[in-house]
């Protein structure tokens, strides 16, 4: 799914994101959008880098915008910071843990 650009001049662009539910992409669409090979995306899923809900072996994985963001982040850290494949699961786990703890702190601090 793409965004619709319906007005553009050199200084102003108005873009509308399609209505409805959050966008979901198939494995091939997600790989294409991230400039990766589908096998690599599948491999990342198998390593559990994208969260457990996308590693269910009996289900065709679907990717949302957040998953695309995560894929691109993984790729970026590999390319630019030399993070290797052994370290990736640790890094992803830490990112997730930080998110989880931040959410917990926010909740405990109350409204």
């Amino acid at each position: 799914m793409t965004n619709f650009v319906f007005y553009q001049n050199p200084t102003v662009t108005l873009v509308c994101v399609p209505a409805g539910t959050p966008a979901l992409y198939s494995l091939h669409a997600a790989a294409h959008l991230c400039g990766m090979h589908p096998d690599l995306v599948r491999h990342y899923c198998e390593l559990g880098l994208l969260g457990p809900e996308r590693a269910d072996p009996g289900r065709e994985p679907l990717f949302d915008d957040t998953a695309l963001y995560e894929l691109r982040r993984i790729e970026h850290y590999q390319r630019h910071y030399g993070v290797n494949r052994q370290t990736l699961p640790v890094l992803c786990e830490l990112w997730r843990e930080v998110d989880r703890l931040q959410a917990e702190v926010r909740f405990l601090r109350g409204p």
Partner: protein, 326 residues
Amino acid sequence: MAVKFQDYYETLGVPRTASADEIKQAFRKLARLHHPDVAKNKVAGEAKFKEINEAYEVLGDPDKRKKYDELGADWQDGAGHAAARGGSRGRARAPGGESDFEFGGTGFSDFFESFFSGRQGGFASAGGPRARGHEDDGDFAQPGRDIEADLLVTLEEAFRGSTRKVTLRRPGMDGAEERTNTYQVKIPAGMREGQRIRLAGQGGPGLGGAAAGDLYLRVRFARHPDLNVKDDDLYFDLDLAPWEAVLGTKAKIPTLGAPTTVRVAPGTAAGTQLRVRGQGLTREDGSRGDLYAVVRIQVPATVTKDEQLLWEKLAAASAFNPRKSS
């Protein structure tokens, strides 16, 4: 770029010496008053609600408050701004630091974006298929960077879905004119804290014919004055008088829609969670989480003579011992 200093203490109407509790109370009072669902003037109410939220986001967090207090003092001297800005990360920074993007309509002010936004800088992606093609040819091609910004979303917006206008001002590269892009962003119903909305190809421009990066908007929930979020469920602190907890009562509690009434059974202890089914956030499968009213027992700070006598009578008559085990 000029960043307007915001006095968050003034926004919440509390002195700089206010305790954490006082800040929380002030926030809740103002948030109830200006909540978009309640405010008479919706537009002004929403703007004010977001302002209050931003202030509480900083002052309600001990670390951010400390940072802000140091910054505020510097600000008064008129010297701290540049230093603080140089020391902190720029806004919507891309590594490489050549560009300084400026967002509008995200619900956070420039000031917040510059000093407190927790997001990392954008990063260059692997690039789309176009970029790969160029790399294969051996040409120099660098895909554009992804840009990220936080989007302050109220619980009601996340629940019902909403449309927001977000602007992004891009600096002119290589002498080009700067440009402002306006995005009509649809926030789908059911968004959660931390989820991202991707605007394809709206990130930094690619070099050498490579694809542009994406623009990601990260959802941050605005603090609701009464409701707290945990996964799919909402939590509400239900304050009861001691006799209400003992004798049972009915209490009105807020939800994301119309308020509802819960029945408090006689002998309800503090900490008891009363579940209201299906009044939480929408799950992925379309069902809804629950709303929990968590019982807290409040005690009157002062009592009249008559009340005092009644409590004494109760104390004499009751065989209840809350510390049985000790």
